[in-house]
């Protein structure tokens, strides 16, 4: 037997077993009716289907309901989703306009080839220490004069003050933009989403439990002994038997692979 052949066989039986276990899980647990869950727990012995299950399911529902109540208490909740979105758009526009007003000064400064150098040396502040006997002193002064002329500032200290304020404001506005873009959705929108989540909760909880039941069947162990000992309807008993045979077949194939 080639490894390739064995691998194909394993894949084929795995697929069949996954289908069968899914079918068996749906048959064993068709609903979250307490009587159905109790019977399935008895038949399978699975601890997650025990009485505590209903407390957990109720807690999940309560968590969503409590979040909805919190959202209802927010002042913005009174606004419709479209109103919240319109306000957010207005705020975005306002921030962009403020930023646009800061851009000319920043652009003039950054566009001058010596501005970064002046900033580094602390030109216009007490930190500037280049002595007058150096050519660079005069080159700095010329550059500072040019910058003041271009930006209409009285002197370089004033330019520096306005430049730093513009940079600070620009960054603050950027932060506000990020908050607006990545912030939580409007309360009303989240409230509606949570409402849909509540409506779908029972179905989603059932699907999760059926999936866990399927996985327990795939994993093997005491669940199979429990099922074989249980009194099952004829059709269900046949399904358990055929699924069990597939499981044995898969184990055999896997052990062959392990030994090859």
């Amino acid at each position: 037997m080639t490894n390739h052949w064995l691998r194909d066989q394993i894949s084929r039986v795995e697929d069949l077993l996954r289908q069968e276990t899914q079918e068996l899980a749906l048959r064993l647990l068709p609903s979250l009716d307490p009587e159905v869950v109790r019977q399935t727990q008895q038949r399978t012995g699975l601890s997650f289907l025990g009485p505590v299950l209903f407390e957990l399911l109720a807690a999940e529902r309560a968590h969503i309901e409590s979040r909805r109540q919190h959202l209802e208490s927010l002042p913005e909740f009174g606004r419709s989703v479209s109103e919240s979105q319109r306000l957010a758009q207005t705020e975005l526009r306002r921030i962009r306009e403020h930023q646009a007003a800061l851009v000319p000064l920043i652009r003039e400064c950054h566009g001058h080839p010596r501005f970064a150098h002046l900033l580094k040396l602390g030109y216009g502040t007490g930190r500037y220490a280049t002595p007058f006997w150096r050519l660079s002193f005069y080159a700095d002064r010329k550059a500072a004069t040019e910058l003041c002329q271009r930006t209409g500032k009285k002197n370089f200290a004033a330019l520096l003050r306005d430049y730093e304020a513009a940079i600070d404001s620009y960054e603050t506005l950027n932060g506000r933009l990020d908050d607006l873009r990545s912030g939580p959705p409007p309360p009303r929108l989240e409230w509606e989403q949570r409402g849909r989540q509540l409506e779908e909760l029972a179905a989603s909880q059932l699907l999760t439990l059926q999936t866990r039941l399927q996985l327990a069947l795939l994993k093997g162990g005491p669940i199979w002994t429990n099922l074989e000992k249980s009194t099952l309807e004829a059709e269900l008993a046949r399904l358990v038997q055929s699924t069990g045979l597939l499981r044995d077949q898969l184990e055999e194939l896997r052990s062959q692979r392990g030994g090859s």
């Binding site: 691998r7 699907l207 866990r212 994993k219």
Partner: protein, 98 residues
């Protein structure tokens, strides 16, 4: 939380011995994984903002074949069967590569 339970059970049903919150230190990458089988070098990680794990280093480990990690990088998973179908596909891929 239900998602993590289903993931662990899915990996265990496939025969992996999952250690939860496993501190992986491999090829300079140090990260606490939601679940990992150190012998098989197979595991999973829910990428959330809270745990602050970036996918880049984990992608690197996968590309170099140092380990096999299933990364959940979607904030909304439709339901448990949808996730399980993806996990089964993942198993098929990594086990065919072996």
């Amino acid at each position: 939380m239900a998602g993590r339970v289903v993931l662990k059970e899915a990996f265990e049903a496939q025969g992996y011995r999952i250690v939860e919150n496993y501190p992986l230190a491999l090829e300079g990458v140090e990260v606490e994984l939601d679940g990992y089988d150190p012998d098989a070098r197979v595991g999973y990680e829910y990428l959330t903002e809270e745990d602050g794990i970036e996918p880049g280093p984990l992608d690197f480990l996968m590309r170099q074949n140092y380990c096999h990690l299933f990364l959940i990088d979607e904030s909304q998973v439709k339901d448990a069967p949808t996730m399980l179908a993806a996990v089964f596909e993942f198993f098929r891929t990594i086990e065919c590569d072996d």
